[in-house]
């Protein structure tokens, strides 16, 4: 008797959530562009403030770019579940017959495509202000590519925990920052190392492993957090 209902494909449901969120981002481009502007501004103002000395810029470039990327991602996380919560579509997701982690993963994919990927794509332009050579820029993009995946997924846990609270940006940051420290440290260090001519494979492997770990576990944690905070 119980088999009577049709379960839609989990993958299909996941991609349709991602598609819907991408469509929403397309219709409200401000939400996507704000964090991107923030990243570009922080990273271009810094060289103006510390002065044009070549040595200083090359030394601080990776750290500043990575910090700016981390903060820009945090900025974009606030709105991940808030609009769904306010218009009632989160409730609809929770009573859907599709497993919640799949829907959450769909949302995270869309979030990364609209926040992480654009950061990766504009980073070579921003890196010019730090006089970064092309070989180093390639590694910077690679670390950002792996790192922003982890940040999007980790961030979804924090966003889910704070969804019922009003304006919980500070709390969200406090929850997420400790978990994202390894990403920041390995990301920035790997870029610094390649700038000084060292081997960087270890750092990249770590970032990749961390991303795989977080992608496989975070959707379940986020789903559980949503069930708790939507009571």
């Amino acid at each position: 008797m119980i088999e009577e209902f049709d379960t839609p494909g989990v993958m299909k449901a996941m991609f349709s959530v991602a598609k819907r969120d991408l469509l929403l981002a397309w219709k409200r481009p401000g939400d996507v562009l704000n964090p991107l502007f923030f990243f570009a501004m922080v990273a271009t103002l810094f060289p103006l403030a510390v002065g044009p000395s070549n040595e200083q810029l090359e030394f601080s470039g990776p750290g500043v770019l990575w910090t700016a990327a981390l903060l820009a991602t945090l900025l974009s996380l606030n709105s991940l579940f808030v609009t769904d919560f306010e218009d009632g579509s989160l409730d609809q997701m929770l009573v859907s017959s599709v497993p919640l982690p799949a829907l959450v993963l769909g949302k995270s994919i869309a979030h990364w495509l609209t926040s992480g990927l654009p950061l990766v794509l504009i980073s070579p332009i921003v890196a010019i202000t730090f006089r970064m050579p092309f070989s180093v820029t390639g590694v910077l993009m690679l670390t950002l590519l792996l790192g922003t995946v982890s940040l999007s997924m980790l961030g979804s846990i924090g966003a889910a925990l704070t969804v019922g609270l009003h304006r919980a940006t500070a709390l969200l940051s406090l929850l997420i920052l400790p978990l994202s420290m390894p990403v920041l440290i390995f990301g920035a260090r790997t870029v610094s190392l390649v700038a000084s001519g060292d081997i960087v494979a270890g750092g990249l492997y770590f970032l990749a492993a961390y991303a795989v770990l977080v992608v496989s576990l975070a959707p379940f944690a986020t789903a559980a957090a949503l069930r708790i905070s939507n009571e």
Partner: protein, 204 residues
């Protein structure tokens, strides 16, 4: 054996307040359950808890003889919930919203046009939900409900914001649903005239 919803000895607390104690009811195919009570008496909370969004303090709900807690996915597959907040994306158009819902439910979109015509919203199909009136948004939520083809309808004050035709239409849709062997739980302030067995639960 027919599919049945039974609730046994339910108690629900919200914070320090007890909304209701030892509430029991049973619902068979073709039957309607109306929840009555003043504002704030816990009708919406009861519905949220039945849908699995809140935990009951005591008691259990069984769907088809199986505890809902144990088999949430099967239960969610056979229910559709029309909440007070309609759960539509304001920036997307009517059709975009409905086809998103369709993709979560593995239903055919062939009937989409019929249902939209029936609810009088087919000329709004290209408009974003944001630009529709509250009553029109309710009609879209009703369309989603009809398209879902679920056996159990949970409706939280479905008559809100609807004009007289709309209210008659809701009753007609519910009657047809019950006639097909569906079940419906509805929180309502007004009398519902349907040709079916009606149970009532009054919350204090």
């Amino acid at each position: 054996m027919t599919i049945k919803l039974t609730a046994n000895d339910l108690t629900l607390l919200r914070g320090e307040r007890c909304l209701f104690k030892s509430l029991s009811f049973a619902l068979s195919p073709g039957e309607l359950l109306i929840l009555e009570g003043q504002n704030g008496s816990g009708k919406t909370s009861l519905m949220r808890a039945l849908a699995g969004l809140l935990e009951f303090e005591t008691g259990d709900v069984k769907w088809d003889g199986v505890l809902v807690r144990k088999n949430r996915q099967a239960f969610h597959g056979s229910l559709v919930w029309m909440a007070h907040r309609v759960g539509l994306k304001a920036d997307l158009t009517l059709v975009e919203n409905l086809s998103f819902e369709a993709s979560l439910r593995a239903q055919s979109s062939a009937e989409l046009d019929d249902v939209m015509t029936r609810l009088g919203i087919s000329r709004l199909r290209r408009l974003p939900i944001r630009s529709l009136s509250a009553g029109q948004q309710r009609r879209v939520a009703l369309a989603r409900m009809v398209l879902a083809k679920a056996q159990l309808w949970l409706m939280d004050e479905p008559f809100t914001n609807l004009d007289r035709d709309g209210r008659t239409l809701v009753m007609k849709l519910v009657s047809e649903h019950l006639g097909r062997g569906g079940m419906c739980i509805m929180a309502a302030h007004q009398d519902v005239e349907v040709d079916a067995t009606v149970h009532k639960v009054v919350l204090q």
